[in-house]
């Protein structure tokens, strides 16, 4: 690389920063890199910048720009001549400070985030970038430091982390609660000689639990992603993961729709395990879902259920089970419908749930 023609192909100071290597006067030089242009750029940038001189005792700041004054609340004459550590305070993480010391000693580029203190005692999270600057002969001349206030990012990150931890805790406890409910139902059923009833109750309760569980993260948004709820309700019926095909487009719905939807899918899957596509070795089910307009021109969520490859069927069976009666009634409370048709190669079902506009 040759110098001084300003053809735009050489690395700028900014680029040198991004490559994470020290500024090099030889390679990173450009016609305006010193003097008037540099000073004007430094004065205008919103990035707080300082230079320290490691050849002077205690590596004091020898230059800082307006943004540095604004960020820290100190005036230039209070800043120049002091070591950068005057921005630290009791809550500054000393392990981060040690990293800075090491980087200065080994003349390396470093980016750390540390808590700094303004003149008025208030704190800010400082994304500090520092690196050595060498002169034309390759001798260490300055340390460059840029400071960026990332307090907002820190807060948002902490809140997000907290929210995630809470969602996980709630999810974990909810699972435990459902497991315990399962225990009570089973034990009671056993004690009262009503195992058949208790296991039916339990299957439905557990299906509901699975339907609600993946909605926890989402529910705060007001709607939940349908696909996650559908998958978790149906997963236990397809332990190998090769019998039920899922096709969805990320459609969302109200959390309240989950119970009716979850129980209906559970009934369909139970039915398929006993009589339909899951009752033999190679039947398959395709479950697809999308938004559409229903006959009253309302937006609706539609879940299509298509069984193939199960035992041949000849028309509607005489008894279709109390589970479906419950499911249809539940759907009706949400103004939804369940339509079932018995094709020769398997059951087709369509769950339709209006979306609140």
């Amino acid at each position: 690389m040759h110098r001084g023609n300003g053809d735009g192909s050489r690395k700028t100071f900014e680029q040198a920063q991004h490559t994470g290597r020290p500024f090099n006067a030889e390679e990173d030089n450009f016609p305006g890199s010193s003097g008037l242009l540099f000073e004007q750029a430094m004065a205008q940038t919103r990035m707080a910048v300082c230079l320290t001189d490691p050849r002077l005792e205690d590596d004091p700041i020898v230059f800082c720009n307006k943004a540095f004054e604004k960020l820290t609340g100190y005036k230039q004459d209070e800043i120049v001549g002091r070591n950068c550590r005057f921005l630290q305070g009791p809550k500054t993480d000393q392990s981060q400070v040690a990293k800075i010391r090491d980087a200065i000693r080994t003349e390396e580029v470093l980016v750390v985030e540390l808590l700094n203190y303004r003149k008025d005692g208030s704190t800010f999270w400082n994304a500090l970038h520092l690196g050595p600057i060498y002169d034309e002969e390759g001798k260490l001349r300055y340390f460059f430091g840029s400071q960026w206030d990332v307090t907002d990012i820190h807060l948002a990150r902490a809140e997000e982390k907290h929210a995630k931890a809470m969602a996980r805790e709630v999810s974990h406890r909810l699972k435990n609660v459902f497991a315990v409910i399962g225990g009570i139902v089973n034990i009671t059923g056993r004690a009262m000689n009503a195992r058949n009833v208790s296991s039916k109750i339990n299957e439905r309760v557990q299906a509901l639990g699975r339907a609600y569980e993946p909605t926890l993260d989402d529910a705060a948004l007001g709607t939940i992603e349908v696909g996650q709820a559908i998958r978790s309700v149906l997963n236990p019926y397809d332990p190998e993961g090769d019998r039920i095909l899922f096709e969805g487009n990320g459609a969302r719905t109200e959390p309240n729709a989950v119970s009716a939807m979850g129980l209906t899918l559970h009934e369909l899957a139970t039915n398929a395990s006993k009589y339909g596509a899951l009752s033999n070795e190679d039947g398959k089910i395709t479950v697809s879902w999308h938004h559409t307009e229903d006959r009253h021109e309302r937006q609706a969520l539609v879940i299509d259920w298509k069984e193939t490859g199960g035992p041949r069927i000849s028309g509607e069976p005489e008894i279709t089970g109390t589970g479906f009666d419950i499911a249809e009634r539940l759907l009706a409370y949400s103004r939804g419908t369940l339509d079932r048709t018995w094709e020769e190669d398997g059951l087709r079902a369509k769950i339709s749930l209006p979306l609140k506009s």
């Binding site: 699972k175 497991a179 225990g183 089973n186 339990n202 299957e203 557990q206």
Partner: protein, 120 residues
């Protein structure tokens, strides 16, 4: 008669599992901590085990899982939150049954379809 070790600190789940194994014609010993599980393993040979992963106050079933693996005893991890299991537990790559799942599912999963215990 097959003898199954259950490590579970939630009483209702433990009772449900124990009864389900008894219904399936097996004997089930319930322990509530790793210490108890090791004590039980001292005096008996087990044919299989069901381990709750999180046993409260940061205790996990990991040491018991490691010991069972060393003895070649097949076991299931029965958990609501595998993320909390340590690396070592994940490295064991044991079969996992997510909580909540019916006690009968736990039994059939451990026993396999033909009544044989699944290999560890």
């Amino acid at each position: 008669m097959k003898c199954i070790l259950i490590l579970e600190d939630e009483p209702l789940i433990a009772m449900d599992l124990q009864l389900a194994f008894e219904d399936a014609g097996a004997e089930a010993v319930v322990t509530v901590s790793c210490d108890e599980a090791f004590e039980a393993m001292d005096g008996a040979e087990f044919d299989g085990a069901v381990l709750d992963v999180n046993l409260g106050k940061g205790e996990t079933c990991e040491p018991v899982a490691v010991e069972l693996r060393a003895r070649g005893v097949p076991f299931l991890l029965h958990t609501g939150d595998l993320d909390r299991a340590g690396e070592a537990l994940r490295d064991l790559d044991a079969p996992i049954l997510a909580k909540p799942s019916g006690a009968d599912d736990v039994v059939s999963r451990l026993f396999g379809l033909n009544g044989q215990l699944q290999p560890a």
